[in-house]
Subunit: 248 residues, 2 copies
Amino acid sequence: MLTISQLAGYVGVTVRAVRHYHQRGLLAEPERDASGYRRYGADAVINLIRIKTLADAGVPLARIDDVLAAGPAEFSRAIAGIDAALEQRIRDLRKHRQRIAALDSGDALILPAVVVGYLARLRAIGASERIVELERGGWILLSARSQHRIDEWIADKQKQLDDPEFRDLYLACDQAFEWDPADPRLERLAGDMAAYAARIAGARKDWNLDSEDMVATSLLSAQAEVSSPGWRRLNELCAVKARAAGIA
Amino acid sequence: MLTISQLAGYVGVTVRAVRHYHQRGLLAEPERDASGYRRYGADAVINLIRIKTLADAGVPLARIDDVLAAGPAEFSRAIAGIDAALEQRIRDLRKHRQRIAALDSGDALILPAVVVGYLARLRAIGASERIVELERGGWILLSARSQHRIDEWIADKQKQLDDPEFRDLYLACDQAFEWDPADPRLERLAGDMAAYAARIAGARKDWNLDSEDMVATSLLSAQAEVSSPGWRRLNELCAVKARAAGIA
DNA sequence: TTGCTCCTCACGTCACGTGAGGTGGC
DNA sequence: TTGCTCCTCACGTCACGTGAGGTGGC
């Protein structure tokens, strides 16, 4: 006969775990010896190994009870289910390994691939890290709110970037971040932007802007106005031009 | 800006988990709006994704705090450690799958391979299921108490089974389980056993039986005496013969 | 006698889950 | 007005871990 620590040691669980299984009614209480110590036979070894094997596999104790009480056919079915769950766990862990590795390398985890591609293109055409970071923040919020529209919006943005004229204006706005509000270049830039807007206004007539689009636009421009006197001034000038042209 | 459920939903955690991370100081509390609701920015999305990624990988929240606070070099080292732990987890889960599968197929999980082989040989030479079960129970207890001696003991047992004379005696004892205590065959069997014991006594002179061996012998014979009047009588007769031969 | 194992409460831990009771936005 | 989201306590859960205080075997 075995003491509780011999039993626990052989099977590879703690003494406390064995007592816990007794409490839960998972493992039958064995006979006691003269001094009240539990004395275990071979059946306890067998049952404890079954319990540990299932528990290690992540089966909740409440279900182990059922599994061990089941008939052979049901037992085999339960085993198959547990095995499938283990396989799934292994697949999940593999995914987790990839994600952990990606934690070092930035955006991949946080943003949809199309947005990462868009940000990379901004860098490629010469946009500053500052504005790429601002765009990144805006797109993170957009993705969180309206993930289903992101592909569409990014496609629009990519189309805009295909136009050399738009690219020049974008990069000029980027530069304007550092300009003094009194800089005469701001006036000229606002004029160019208004002219561009007027020219493509016809093409935009058929666009359907819903409330989600409005949120998207306002989120991006709210980001853009942050902490640059040059940009704030540029925005004002644009508003003036727009009113003058009767667009707004 | 995002509400708590937008944030949680995008990252794939529960609202309660986000609040829990605030409580633990893992995720910074954001600004509140006019009605006291939390409003999240892009930074919260980034940090929550980091927390979730590490937590999914099984990193305790207490350590996530440290990992996120660490510099890039230490961060990479921590990531490498976490990745190694994940790899180990995957290996463990594979082992668990094998063990789960083995739960259906009997002894492999419970007994050392040499014992399983010994039990198979008993069956092969014609031993009854009854005595194989008794041996099994005895070897389970022996394995739990003195796993380091099992190989040695089994080697001895296998050597005994190589002797055709021993095999015959073993199988006769097996049969004797069902004999009546008055059966005259018991007397003859006890005589044969005594003669055999006397003949091999010389070869046994150099055996070193320590206290562990004594425990082993007594455990196995205690099992054997269970619930058979024939066996109990056989044991008495053997004791008589042994005393007569001056062995005991 | 000392150290080790055993016993039974019973509170602690970890990462949230789950109401309880109440308020704000559409 | 109704239903949904948000808020803050605060107790519950799961599988044990960890002393607390005491007794038996070598």
